[in-house]
């Protein structure tokens, strides 16, 4: 049976369906779904209001494992279905689960437009830099030189940076976290949920079968502190095991650079303070990559604007207030008509 009974206070486990999870053992998706369950339980979102849309790919099986409403759609199109659903019923709490091929390759257009329209959707992009479900082809986010069944000599095309693309498309909320970062993930997801409008969260995810360890260089326990930076609004952009590295303006003033506090006269006052409404800064943070920079985690940009669904409904309400709907017969008779009388 496919029926769940609502309970008084929802626990993380209440958000899980009774279906057996079929991801590969050790897949990063297990950690992500746990993070989502925890987040939803913290927010106490009623199951009946919650809808998970997905496209195609390993990540797209996500809705089947959720106890909420869910719709496993077609490759790349989940944001488009979710847009229709949100416009049709703005009361729904809609989440969209996408993979990197799903969101950025076949569905790139829909991702871009859901973001630019600022539809109130929580867009979760599981980025494992590989096509998993089709057995390991390189994806639009795979690093240059990725060897895969379709690129046996290594890929020769440049990867896409999901958050830079989103900011370029006019995103008002972008954030990044990674699968095993269990404490951090709910913080980011809650911020995404609180943001009204399109919220894009890139969740870096390890594919244990086809791309294992590709993020180890900065997510590994021993390196994560030095090779990533978790940003927080209003806090200085400091990172490193010793908390002595930071991001400062570049010497030409047009960019950022990594500096070490206490070296070359650098003090904490030289370190930039994160301002999540500063788009230029967000774009620089989103672009940062190994080995020259730490990978930025957290809410890089959060600058709300009017959600599309809200604007659409405001306009509908205005038009309907100014033109009260008549009956169907009135609709059919509006405009120029003529009458032929009996016997004419």
């Amino acid at each position: 049976m496919n029926v769940e009974t609502p309970v008084e206070l929802l626990k993380p486990a209440d958000y899980a369906s009774d279906q057996e999870v079929r991801w590969c053992p050790g897949c990063g998706d297990y950690a992500i779904i746990k993070g989502v369950h925890n987040t939803l339980a913290d927010l106490q979102i009623p199951l009946e209001k919650l809808v998970f849309f997905s496209g195609i790919g390993c990540a797209a099986r996500f809705p089947y494992y959720m106890a909420s409403y869910g719709f496993h759609t077609i490759h790349g199109r989940a944001p488009a279905l979710a847009t229709g659903a949100k416009l049709a019923n703005p009361d729904l709490d809609i989440w969209v689960v996408m993979g990197d091929g799903d969101a950025l390759s076949i569905g790139g257009n829909h991702t871009m437009h859901a973001i630019r329209r600022n539809v109130d959707l929580n867009l979760l992009l599981f980025n494992n830099e590989i096509y998993g479900l089709t057995k390991g082809q390189y994806s639009p986010t795979s690093q240059l030189g990725t060897r895969s069944p379709s690129t046996p000599q290594g890929s020769v095309d440049s990867p896409l940076n999901a958050l830079s693309l989103a900011l370029g498309a006019g995103a008002r909320f972008v954030a990044r976290t990674f699968d095993t970062n269990l404490k951090h993930m709910p913080i980011v997801l809650k911020a995404a949920h609180a943001h009204k409008g399109a919220s894009l969260v890139e969740i870096i995810q390890n594919c244990i079968v086809y791309n294992d360890g590709v993020f180890d260089g900065w997510t590994g326990k021993s390196v994560v502190a030095d090779n990533s930076i978790t940003v927080e609004n209003g806090q200085p952009l400091i990172f490193g095991k010793e908390r002595n590295k930071g991001l400062a303006k570049s010497d030409d003033g047009f960019g950022i650079q990594v500096v070490t506090i206490g070296e070359n006269g650098v003090t904490e006052a030289d370190i930039l303070v994160h301002d999540e409404t500063n788009k230029i800064l967000a774009m620089m943070l989103a672009d940062m990559n190994q080995p020259d920079f730490p990978v930025a985690l957290g809410v890089l940009y959060n600058n709300p604007g009017k959600p599309y669904d809200e604007a659409v409904h405001e306009q509908l309400a205005e038009v309907r207030a100014a033109n009260p709907p008549g009956t169907l017969n009135e609709m059919l008779r509006k405009g120029r008509t003529w009458t032929i009388a009996e016997g004419e």
Binding site: F71, T73, G84, A85, W338
Partner: protein, 621 residues
Amino acid sequence: MATNVVPPDHEGRKALDSVVIRFAGDSGDGMQLTGTQFTQSTALMGNDLATFPDFPAEIRAPAGTTFGVSAFQINFASFDIQTPGDDPDVLVAMNPAALKVHLKDVPKGGTVILNTDAFSDRNIARAGYTANPLKDGTLDNYVLVAIEINKLTNAAVADIGVSSKEATRCKNFWALGLMCWMYDRDRQPTVEWVNQRFGKLPKIAEANIAAMNAGHAYGETVEMPSGIEAYVVPRAKVMPGTYRAVTGTEAAAWGLVAGAKKAGLELFLGSYPITPASALLHTLTNLKPYGVTTFQAEDEIAAVCSAIGASYTGKLGITSSSGPGIALKTEAIGLAFITELPLVVVNSQRGGPSTGLPTKTEQSDLYQAVYGRNADSPLPVVASATPGDCYETAIEAVRIAVKYMTPVMFLTDGYLANAAEPWEIPDADAIAEFPVEFRTETEGFHPYLRDEKTLARNWAVPGTPGLMHRLGGIEKDYDSGHISYDSDNHHRMTKIRAAKVDGIANDIPAQKVAAGEDKGSLAVVGWGSTFGAINQAVGRCIKDGVRVSHIHIRHIWPMPANLGELLSQFDQVIVPEMNNGQLVNVLRAKYLVPAESITQITGQPFKVSTLEREIRSRVKG
């Protein structure tokens, strides 16, 4: 507003039963507007009428070229007519290119009205004439009315204070005025329309009205060549009732809104601009007060997906496009089919394949509608016969979609979308409601629980407590709605989905003949917008004692349960289609009838005379 028809002044006018006029000019000359205004006046005069707008794909093709010619044909009569007419009695040609393209359709002795100001050496050469057709005998066999329309228009508006360019642009209204004089049309509706349209540009409005009045006055005062006089086409005898002029696009939009209302649902249209379907998006977005939301998506795929998303939440999802756009939507339509969500897919067919002839009409997407998806995914398909019929067909499409929880293909075409006819406005209350009941009962629920009779699954929408479930494109278990890769289950689900659609055959009207007897020598079977031409051709033959019948199929899939039996009552079956033979093969495959195909793939509607010839060559009266 209801306008009472003022009896026309018959004094000194020669009465005609019917007239076919074709307005033709550059695509920037305003021929569609002229035709539309003439149509409105004609409808208000109480004539029956049918129109055929025929315009190029280019918005403003280079001036004076033959490929930039835009035309509008209207057939109006004192009796019941069904087509825009075969050949024009009168051609109004605003430039040499229009003459070049359309003169061949005017029968010898027909009237040709020309704007001689447009016949410069350059324009004549541009149209592909090697000599001036006004002087080389080209027009010897026609009644020619050669008028300096530009000059007369400019003179008429000289005192109003518009630029000379603006003045010249009024020439279509001058021509309209002349035709209003010739056929005794009331100019007042056009005056009202102009004042409304150019309300913020009073000088432009004044100039257009002055030009029209000048054209009218010209007719009244100038001595016309022999063979031309003032005519009257008496009003047609039509059933009492309230009428309006309607295009297929308007009727379809109202039908979709009415269908949604009858189902108790709000309407959501997801659409992407494409010719000739865009007009439906424009029309529906102006019906927002009637529970309509429209969404112009980023592409055709997003358009259909947004509609499916809306249906999923309990709205009536609709998407509208033309053949190439429908092709893009195909995968998503399959999703709606397997998740068994209601969806109406409107296809305003156009010439194809690929971009084909985007502004010309064709009915070549029947295969696409019936068969055009991967895997076993039969869809109900309905098609409209006339502009007014789009209303009823739309309601039927909605009824089937919500009652059977399935996407429905609703076929119109470029001709139906743009053509106008007088329409007796139906009583919307006379149509039975078919209210949707969403599932709310949690006991015993799973998403693929089926109604025993219709086989439709129950519809539970997000937001309903206790009915949380997951839909998706993966095959589902018959008994639980969970994912299932079980082979026997897939067999069973495929069969049940097909049986559900097949069962609709028992829920639609039995097939009747549209003309003639229900057995005989020859059945002419048609579908879609060929209705008028076939019906008229068959009707004329029957009058002459030919044993022929007309069968018009509205439900293309599934077909009415008695259709095979009906077809078997005829010695011969012919199927005229504006494609290379599609319905004919569906009939042959389904009923093993030796149906014969009559094809015309010119982007133009069938002529009645063509079909009459085909009938008479097979059956003697």
